[in-house]
């Protein structure tokens, strides 16, 4: 976590309010609507109601119907409109109700938003931030649980960001909106309200006891393309992002293995320096994500790590991911790669 702003606030004796992830995101949107009149927000139920997860609650009332509004149920239309608005000069921040429903817009994202700058040699650009709740953990079944991030990382021209905590969520979202290229901003819905300490069936530490819920008021950014070392360790490096960062932490603590946990935060462009530095130090690596395994982003991470660190590796890199199945409903927690599976992988690389 980039704690510079927090440090400054603390040093100045300023009280830092506690926020959950949803509040942090809403705060970021509020700030950008306020300081840049080219920012517009729209999506299914995102206007009057404030979104099914309430991320945009109150914003229409505050900024008016031309700045924050409901859209027809057409993800293609939402992103296509955003591309046109961006070409005009706005900075649209569309919301897709669930990341599962982003596929109808995939062509407008991958063929249009991502390539507009390229094909016009910079004449037209697409500074769009597409927000969408991602991941499982709320019994959403096949179509409210998926993690499609890998698809976007295969598209040149896009950036892909996934925060794991309120502080980062606000800072990364502001940075994404201010970025001049299209950003896919995936919000782990399991972390929206309550925090998650890795287990679904144990009590959680409330956000207020998580350092990362200290979300300074006003404008700050967490830079895109920079990972965070959220736990330092000597024995093995865990690469992860989003909800899984918390699972990784639980696994490290429960196994007692001294793992260094890297929260990637931005998948593309990737902070491979931070990764390589850590793996060269630990000599072992476990990659953790919730998305299905085959051709998930874990494959790319492993390819990069073996390229940069092969001679340092003392064990094959392990991957802990969702199974290669659609996200089941009743078996949600069998599908979800929890601390036990991560713990097993940690032990495996330690024993190799």
């Amino acid at each position: 976590m980039n704690t510079k702003q927090q440090d400054k606030d603390l040093a100045s004796g300023k009280h830092i309010p506690r926020k959950n992830m949803l509040e942090a995101i809403r705060d970021a949107l509020d700030i950008k609507l306020g300081d840049d009149e080219n920012v517009v927000i729209f999506g299914e139920d995102a206007g009057y109601f404030g979104g099914v997860f309430r991320a945009t609650e109150g914003l229409q009332k505050k900024y008016g119907k031309s700045r924050v509004f409901d859209t027809p149920i057409s993800e293609l239309g939402i992103i296509g409109a955003a591309v046109g608005m961006a070409a005009y000069g706005l900075r649209p921040v569309p919301e897709i109700q669930f990341a599962d429903y982003i596929l109808p817009a995939f062509d407008q994202i991958a063929s249009e938003a991502a390539r507009l700058r390229y094909r016009s040699a910079g004449e037209f650009t697409a500074p769009i931030t597409i927000r969408a709740p991602t991941g499982g953990g709320i019994f959403g079944g096949q179509t409210h649980s998926q993690s499609p991030e890998a698809l976007f990382t295969h598209v040149a021209g896009l950036k892909t960001v996934i925060p794991s905590n309120p502080y980062d969520a606000k800072g990364l979202l502001i940075a994404a909106i201010e970025d001049d290229d299209p950003v896919i901003f995936l919000e782990p819905k399991r972390l929206y309200n309550g925090p998650f300490d890795g287990h679904h069936n144990r009590p959680v530490t409330p956000w207020s006891a998580h350092e990362t819920s200290k979300v300074p008021e006003g404008h700050y950014t967490v830079p895109l393309g920079k990972a965070a070392v959220t736990r330092t360790g000597q024995e093995v490096t865990i690469l992860s992002y989003g909800t899984m960062v918390h699972v990784a932490k639980a696994a490290a603590e429960e196994t007692g293995i001294d793992a260094e946990i890297i929260d990637l935060r931005t998948l593309l462009p990737l902070d491979d320096e931070t990764i390589a530095t850590s793996v060269r130090k630990t000599g072992r690596c476990v990659v953790v994500h919730e998305a299905t395994k085959t051709s998930g982003f874990g494959g790319e991470l492993i390819a990069i790590v073996q390229e940069l660190c092969l001679n340092y590796l003392e064990a094959p890199i392990e991957r802990v991911t969702g199974w290669d199945t659609p996200y089941p409903h009743a078996q949600e927690w069998d599908y979800f790669p929890g601390p036990d599976r991560v713990g097993a992988a940690l032990k495996k690389v330690m024993e190799a």
Binding site: D45, F49, D70, L76, Q142, T143, T325, H329, A330
Partner: protein, 409 residues
């Protein structure tokens, strides 16, 4: 050149929380006032029907006009039974969800007539491509509700093994296509199924379903384009219940305030029908089914109705529309209206009505109890984790075999 500033038009519903309900935006013609064209009618020659509203029951409950096809009391009482059973079923499942027996539930309160009456017109072998709000299609066929509840509970007898969201039924034998969570996709698939039936020289037809909100999806257009081109045997149902979660129908429909007329651009004949009038739904469905079965091609029907309850158990409509809005809905309640008609006909009375309700409540309760023996979400003899690995492919490929092993299931 005009140099006045432009401005964005953002539609708003007539009312919001705190306002008195106002449905003045809907014109309601008298029952019986709309003509009934021949099924061979050129779509262009019946464009007026998309802007009208086919209604059969008048305010006194009498069946009137050319769309009154004089259904037998037996058919009507079965219809009443189906709608009541659907509603009672929904109420029970709503309660079950509140008790934590399942994760989420979606009712069709106020819209029961549409699925129940259309299903009554369809034949065995025909295939419906429903959304999550057409449980009436199963119930009207006397599909065993215990099986539905087992699925809702994701329990050991859930034939889908807990994989899918609670109410995402799949019942091929009952002409009920597997429900998808992705809005609209099934509308295009219904057209494809109907094309297949035509390709094979079959006699079976398809019935596609979509909500007012979801008509904005791309699949709606694709379905109409393909329907327009290949003229396959399909009934294309748009259930306009005025809401898409928190968005009123104007957000998908613009100022047209009409989804039937979408058909015109594709030369697909369109009807607009009072969806809370069982007799009208039955008659209009029959017209469209006959057209399809006679190789005359698709019909688009907008069913005008009202989503009388929350979108789902995760939703709170008091945040975006006046409370008790549904009570002021000018087309009334489909069950009450059919009851009134039957009583007006002398074929029904309050005592029989209440008896039917009691009997259905008992039946539904018993089924729920029975289902519960096989577990509820995450409790009891629930489907095992191994189920997760079944039916991804016909045969489990090596990489998934390995993963199943790794999962230890």
């Amino acid at each position: 050149m005009n140099t006045k500033s432009l401005s964005l038009h953002v539609p708003e519903p007539t009312t919001r929380p705190g306002d008195a309900p106002d449905f003045s935006y809907i014109d309601i013609p008298n029952a019986g006032s709309v003509r009934r064209p021949d099924i061979h009618c050129d779509p262009q020659a019946m464009r007026d029907l998309a802007f009208d509203l086919i209604r059969v029951m008048d305010d006194e409950g009498n069946a009137v006009g050319s769309w009154n096809i004089e259904l037998s009391n037996e058919v009507l009482i079965k219809g009443l039974h189906d709608m009541l059973k659907t509603r009672i079923f929904d109420e029970r499942m709503l309660m079950a969800q509140r008790q934590g027996k399942t994760s989420i539930y979606v009712q069709c309160r106020g819209e029961e007539a549409i699925a129940c009456a259309q299903r009554a017109v369809l034949e065995k072998g025909d295939m419906c491509f429903p959304t999550y709000r057409q449980q009436g299609l199963l119930i009207a066929q006397d599909f065993p509700i215990e099986a539905m509840i087992c699925q809702i509970y994701s329990n050991a007898k859930d034939k889908l093994g807990g994989r899918s969201l609670p109410f995402f039924y799949s019942e091929k034998e009952f002409g009920f296509f597997s429900i998808s969570g992705n809005l609209g996709t099934q509308f295009m698939q219904a057209v494809g199924w109907a094309m297949a039936s035509a390709i094979k020289g079959d006699t079976r037809i398809a019935s596609g379903w979509i909500g007012d909100g979801a008509t904005a999806e791309s699949d709606f257009h694709a379905a109409l384009v393909f329907a327009s081109v290949y003229k396959p045997p399909v009934v294309m149902n748009v259930v306009n219940n005025q809401w898409a979660i928190s968005s009123f129908q104007g957000i998908a429909g613009g100022s047209a305030n009409n989804f039937a007329c979408r058909g015109h651009g594709y030369n697909v004949p369109a009807l607009r029908v009072d969806g809370n009038d069982y007799l009208a739904v039955y008659a209009a469905s029959q017209w469209a089914v006959e057209r399809a079965r006679s190789n005359l091609g698709p019909t688009l029907i907008e069913w005008v109705t009202y989503r009388a309850a929350a979108h789902s158990t995760s939703d709170d409509p008091t945040k975006y529309r006046p409370e008790n809005d549904a009570e002021s809905w000018p087309l009334g309640d489909p069950i009450e209206r059919l009851k009134t008609h039957l009583i007006a006909k002398g074929a029904w009375d309050d005592a029989r009505h209440n008896a039917m309700i009691d009997q259905l409540k008992t039946e539904v309760k018993a089924a729920a109890k029975e289902a519960e023996k096989h577990g509820t979400l995450g409790k009891g003899p629930v489907p095992g984790a191994a189920e997760m690995f079944n039916h991804i492919y016909k045969e489990l490929p090596p990489h998934l075999r390995k993963q199943r092993q790794e999962a230890g299931v």
